[in-house]
Subunit: 351 residues, 2 copies
Amino acid sequence: MSMLVECEALRDWVKGILCRAGAPAPQASCVAHILLRTDSRGVRTHGVTRLASYVEKLRSGEVNPDPQISSHSISPNTMLLEADGAFGQVAMSEALRLGVQGLDTGDMRALLIRECGHLGALGLYALMAAEQGYFSVVAQRTPALMALPGFEHPAVGNNPIAFGCPISGADPLVFDMACSVAARGHILLRARSGEPIPEGWALDAHGEPTTEAAAALGGALLPSAGHKGMGIAMLVECLSAGLLASERSIAALRSETGVAIQGAVGRQGAFMLLINQRVLSRGYFDAYMSQWAGQYRRKGGVDARLPGARGAELEREVRRRGSLDISEDLYRELCGLAAQFGLNFPAAALA
Amino acid sequence: MSMLVECEALRDWVKGILCRAGAPAPQASCVAHILLRTDSRGVRTHGVTRLASYVEKLRSGEVNPDPQISSHSISPNTMLLEADGAFGQVAMSEALRLGVQGLDTGDMRALLIRECGHLGALGLYALMAAEQGYFSVVAQRTPALMALPGFEHPAVGNNPIAFGCPISGADPLVFDMACSVAARGHILLRARSGEPIPEGWALDAHGEPTTEAAAALGGALLPSAGHKGMGIAMLVECLSAGLLASERSIAALRSETGVAIQGAVGRQGAFMLLINQRVLSRGYFDAYMSQWAGQYRRKGGVDARLPGARGAELEREVRRRGSLDISEDLYRELCGLAAQFGLNFPAAALA
C-alpha cells in the first residue's frame, strides 16, 4: 500500500522542514528539488527517504547549513570548489553551474569539490549535465566500507560513480552505480528485522563471509564482481579524493578507524568531469551514439532499455499525474518529522 | 610443465617473426617489447600467446604493418590520432609519447585514437604513463559481444578499461578489467575440449543462460555484475567510440551484425586521459595516495595487495632471472611459427 502526495506540495514541505532544521531557503529548495526528482525517477533509496538523516546531519553539524562556498581555477580546465561542508546537492549544483560556464566553446572541464555532503543519487547530476548538452562523469568517495575476503577491516569506500550522455532523439543515457554488491542500508534494514542477508553481500569482523546482518554491520561490504568493484572504487578514490587532497583530507583519512560507519558521511570529496562532446567530435558523437543506442535496443529486443530510460519514463508519468506515491512506512516517518517540526504534512490519499 | 626462455632472445625472436610477417622493425620491436612485458607481469592471456593471431592479422590485412599515423590537436587539451590500422601497441605508444609532451606544466590531456588494433593488456599503457609520473585512464571499444538475459543479440562490446596511478614509494597502482565475466577466449578453449562453462558466463543464441561452450559461442557473454558491467562498457563506448566517431566508424558500427566475433578485431577506437596530478593537487595527491595505499595494506592484512603490485614483483623476478617461463602448449605453438617463418626459436630449457 502506498500514499499519493501532490508533488509541489511535497517539495514545499521538504523545503519547509529543511528550513526549520536550520537551512537557508535557497539551500533547502535545491535539496528538496533534487530529492523529489530522484524519487520521481524511481530511485527510492536516495529520495525523500533521506530527509530524516539530512535533518539529523544539520542538527549534528555534520552538514553546514549556510556554507561559504568558494571556487577558483587551478588550471585553464580545472576548478576547485571549497564546499565548506555544504549539502552535496548544493555543492554539486554550484559545481555544475560553474562547470558549464564557457564550456559551449571549450572541450572539457574538471571540477574538484572539497568537503561536500552526501550527493544522493549521483546520476541526477549526470542527468542535469546531459540536459544541458554535456557528457559527464561524476564520482564521490566515501569512508572505508568494503573489503575482500580475509581483510581485517574495510579498506575502501563503496565509492559511487555515474556518467551521463545526451542521446539525440532519446532520453539521456544515465548510469549510476556504487561499488559494493549491496548498500549498507539494506543490511541495516535486515538487521532490524532479524532477517538474514544473501550470500555474497558482506563479511563479518574477521573477514569471513556471513549471512548474518548484525555480523555484517560490524564487518565490511563485499565489492561487486570482486576485484573489479574494488578497482573501480580505487579509481574513484584517486579522482575524488587524491586529486583534491589537502592537509585536512589527509588528516581525516588518517583518522578513519576502519570501523564501519552508518549512513552518508559529510565533508567528503567529489569529482565531476564535463566534456563538450560536440566540440571534440564535431558533431559525429551525436550521430554515432544515436545510431548505437538504436542498435542496442534492436539487438536487445523488447525488454532492452538504456540506463536512464526507465527513470525518464517514470518522471514523465509523475509530472503528468502531478503526484508522487510514497510507501506507507515512509509516509509514517515523514508524518513524524511533520509533528516534530510543527509543519503539517501535505494531504495524502491512498494510492 | 613449462619452458624457460631467455627474455632478450625471446623478444628478438618475436620481433623477427613480426618482421618476417611484414611489419617494419620499429613496429615489430614495439609490439615485441609490450608483449614481453605483459607476460613478465603475469598477464599470460595477453602476452606472446597473441603472436599467432597478430601474424594472422598482418596476413589478412586487418592490421596495417606500415601505417601512416597522423595526429592533430582538436583543442588545447585534446589530440586526435589517426592510427591508420596500426598495431594497438604502436598506436598507443605514440599516443602516450604525444600526450606527455608539455604535460609537465599542463593539467590534463585526452587522446582520441581512431582505427587502431587490439591494445593487448590495457594496464600496460596505464603503467607506462604512471612510470612517467602521470595518472591515466585507458579504454578501448570492441565490437558487440555482451548481452543481458533475454537479449536477441550481443549489444555492446566487453570494452576494457584500465587506470594507472603513481604511488610515492611503492609500485604504481595499475587496474585493468574487461566488462564481461569471462573472456571469449576461455569459452573457445572449453568448446575445443568439449568442457562445459560455469554458470553465469554466457547466454546462448536465444538469450538464455547456458553452460554449453559451443552454444555460448553463438550467443553472448554476460557482463560482470549484470547491469553494472553493462554500464561501464557503455561509458567506454562513449569515450572510445563516441568522442572520436567519424563517417567510417559509424558505417562500421552499422555493419556490426550482432553475430559474435572471434578474437581481437582491428581498427577500433581507443581513448586515453592523462592527468598531471602534481599540477592539479600541488603535491597533495602523492601524500594522500601514499597514505591511502599504506592504510589499504594495513587494513587488508598480510594478503592485501594493491592492483599492479603482484605484476611489478613478477616483473622484477623475471628481470633478475633474465628468463621467462612459457607453458608447454605455447612453446609448441611458437615452435610452429618458428618453422613456418624459418626463424629458429631460441634455446629453451625445462623449467
